[in-house]
């Protein structure tokens, strides 16, 4: 959920809206915001599944340190979505394990 107005920070800054695809579903995102922020705003919480037990993982540190939020972006696995900016038309998918195809 986006914080549209804030008692100290005021209204949310106007930025360019773009479309990105997440597991085949199209969502709107602000250009340049971290992928993770766009996903959370769209209610998506599970970013990847672990290698051995396929357990869900999501955002944890938000500053690029912990690597829990890695997803497959434009075919590349292990992309830290909390520090990777959104670009128009990005194809993002839940990373399964190390980034296996299925």
């Amino acid at each position: 959920m986006r914080i549209k107005s804030h008692p100290i920070l005021g209204d949310i800054p106007k930025r360019k809206l773009v479309k990105i695809e997440v597991d085949g579903r199209t969502i709107e995102a602000f250009e340049g915001e971290p992928i993770a922020a766009a996903l959370l705003a769209a209610g998506i919480k599970v970013f990847r599944r672990t290698v051995k037990r396929r357990e869900p993982r999501g955002l944890f540190c938000t500053i690029g340190q912990c690597t829990d939020c890695m997803m497959t972006v434009n075919g590349m696995p292990n992309v830290r979505t909390c520090i990777t900016p959104v670009e128009e038309g990005m194809e993002i998918s839940t990373q399964i394990g190390r980034g296996e195809r299925s």
């Binding site: 914080i3 920070l9 938000t62």
Partner: protein, 360 residues
Amino acid sequence: MDAEVAVVGAGPAGLSASIEAARLGAKIVLIDENGKPGGQLFKQIHKFFGSMEHLAGLRGYDIGNKLWQRAMELKINVMLNTTVFGIFGDKTLGLLTTMGSEILRAQRIILATGGSENTIAFPGWTLPGVMGAGAAQTLINVHRVLPGKRILMVGSGNVGLIVSYQLLQAGAEVVALVEAAPKIGGYRVHAAKIQRAGVPIMVSHTVKRAHGRDYVEAATIVRVDDDLKMIPGTEKTFDVDTICLAVGLTPLSELAWMSGCKFIFVPTLGGHVPIHNEDLETTVEGIYVAGDIAGIEEASIAMEEGRLAGIAAAESLGYAREEATKLKKEIKERVQQLRRGPFGEDRYLAKQRIMKVAPR
């Protein structure tokens, strides 16, 4: 590429260090892996305490802007989106930029790499929805997205208290704040603010389990005894979608380890800390530390330590010898003031312990 002083990390400590050293005439290269400078300052939307010298009364992001502006005025060479992947023999830094890798030879290095949030393990702690309190703060104040609607905060240090308040400001509901110790860890005034807003602060309580299949749907908390053992039968379960962990930070010290700095284990300051003297110089000559890497404290202290390290590094290169002594003395007095009181006392003593084993 060459630099007289390479500063790693453009947060409050690194920016302050660069500004002081540059002001005294040293040639600086300031490096940060992020696309924006300021470290964690830009997510701090509360007003800082302290005296005027500490920019008290200003909000964190205002301080960040001020420091950045000053760095630009001084024409400091800043490399953003640049990771220092190693420090090799003879103060050679390996840099990874968006263009590739390059080498930076420095005469002095100031490490201001900050800290990373700690976590605690409990059943369900890996579920999406369990995150660092600092992470939630980044989301709401920088990216303007709520991590969830109903939050359980774990830990009552200043981070837990301040982030709880900021989550309320952002429109979330903080269902409870649990603290395993028998008393609140952070400043009274921060605690009072969230209590007034109706958030129960439950001391002698901890999180026992996060529930949910694919993400957090509820959390069970439990009372603990004086030895922090869970007391069976005292569990309570809340419907929450987010559990924030504010359970301290650890210095980010890889580059100091790699440089061969000697360390000391000081729990009060977050764990393994590079040994440093009053001028923040480590056991490796010419390598300094400042801010959270030198022991987890507050942004105001990080800035003072940064200044001190910046001045000391410039002084050692032959800049402003006379002025430096006076400047350093003033800063040391201000730092001592910041460490007064019940919260600073322990950290003051811990720092004294480090100085004792440090090279002169």
